[in-house]
């Protein structure tokens, strides 16, 4: 039961007719309980990769093997809520089996209690993103895919939700793929970090984090981050002179 990704290429044909190569060969795999983090410049192809991995885009070269019948929980980069259904209905539609207690708990954690009956059009963007998170959590996924889940949230809330993601990952056998621009999130949540190149994306570096998530204190995290910053700055310097 692993997620095996072996993409050899992906091109888009724009409406104007040009073709753009978006993904270079990308190959990695992810096991149960692992959190893979994709970090890369804006527009490099991260969301495209996620769409391919989830089977939403079949027009690519290569192969992706998902665990069969895996329940998927996904936080898209935009909330993608149904505007004509209330917050609660939006969650329930994705996770019909959820029980009331679970739902209440989820809304409490995400600080959405007051908004259960609101329509998405009545939410702030941050609230909407939280509903999207609630939806992904509610399905109790086997494969959790998060595309910048903590953007547009204030630091305090983002921190609390990061903890929640960690809790979820620890409590169930779930594979997680996280896209983020925040090194902090990456280091706190990830087991393996994939640093991607600009478009067409390929994996520049795969950095495993050996220390188990639960054991990462502030000091360890700072150390890992410092190491990564050195590394990327070295690379950037290298690029700049080339």
């Amino acid at each position: 039961m692993r997620l095996e990704v072996d993409i050899t290429g992906k091109t888009f044909r724009s409406a104007a007719g040009e073709t753009h190569e978006v993904l270079a060969p990308v190959r990695f795999s992810l096991g149960v309980g692992e959190v893979g983090v994709l970090v890369g410049p804006s527009g490099c192809g991260k969301s495209t990769m996620l769409r391919i991995i989830l089977g939403l885009d079949r027009d690519f070269q290569g192969d992706v093997t998902r665990p069969p019948n895996a329940r998927i929980g996904m936080v898209f980069q935009e909330p993608r809520l149904l505007p004509w259904r209330s917050v609660e209905q939006n969650v329930r539609l994705a996770a019909p089996e959820i029980d009331e207690a679970k739902l209440t708990e989820l809304f409490r954690i995400l600080e959405l209690d007051a908004h259960r009956s609101h329509f998405p059009g009545e939410l702030s963007l941050g609230l909407a993103r939280r509903v999207a998170l609630a939806r992904a959590f509610a399905v109790e996924p086997d494969l959790l895919v998060l595309d910048e889940p903590l953007a547009s949230l204030d630091d305090a809330l983002a921190g609390r939700l990061r903890e929640e993601i960690a809790t979820l990952v620890a409590s169930r056998p779930v594979m997680t793929l996280l896209v983020t621009h925040s090194l902090d999130d990456a280091v706190r949540l990830g087991d393996r970090l994939f640093f991607l190149s600009p478009r067409p994306a390929r994996i520049l570096a795969e950095v495993p984090i050996a220390i188990p998530r639960a054991a990462r204190g502030e000091a360890e995290i700072a150390a890992i981050k410092a190491g990564l910053v050195r590394r990327t700055q070295g690379e950037r310097a290298g690029r700049d002179v080339s």
Binding site: R51, L54, G55, L56, R71, I72, G73, M74, F76, E78, R80, L82, P83, W84, R85, Q89, L93, A94, A95, P96, F119, P120, G121, R135, V139
Partner: protein, 245 residues
Amino acid sequence: MLRLLSFALFLAIWWIAALFVGGVKLPSPPAVLQVMMAEAASGALFLHLGATLARVVLAFVLAMSLGSAIGYLMGRVKLADRLGDPWLILLLNLPALVVIVLAYIWAGLTEAAAIAAIAINKLPTAVVTLREGTRALDRSLDEMAAVFAMSRWRAFRHVVLPQLAPYIAAAARSGLSLVWKIVLVAELLGRPNGVGFEIGVAFQLFDTPRLLAYSLTFAAVVLVIETLLVQPFEARSTRWRPRAA
């Protein structure tokens, strides 16, 4: 309230116009009302209205459901669109008269033929409208439904249908009016009752008050249905939309 006012205004304009133009060219509201009452008292009004309404409802339901399904398919599946398009244009542009006559010829002067002919006339406009709606569907929500493994029916009901709702509303409203226009032709050509039949008779006698009495009664029925059923339902189902400032 405003609706009532507007309606009153309509009556007033009509009345004044009738006074100016004179009875033969435009009967006044009381003249028409009198005919309505007389026809209602004799029961003829209800008989004919009932017959027509039954046909309208059957043909409308048939055409709307089949037309919506075909339109959805054509909007979704490119192949279906390519194959169906010439037929669609043909059907759209076949005169009502021809369809009705052919239906009567093939299927006899029967109720079924009438209803089928009316439905065939309405069908393509529903197809066309729903096809546009389907083409305009938001694919990102489809992806969402796919990711969360929503069942087909669930996704259709909660993701697709609400997006199609305005198209369905448009197709239904203009479609009802089309069905109504065509049921009259069908009744005129080969049915022994119904508003169209009565209008045909009134037309032969050039009896404008009667012509108007029957026409307006149907319009009134639709107005009542709109006010009491459709609009409250519509208001409820579009609650989620941000209100205009």
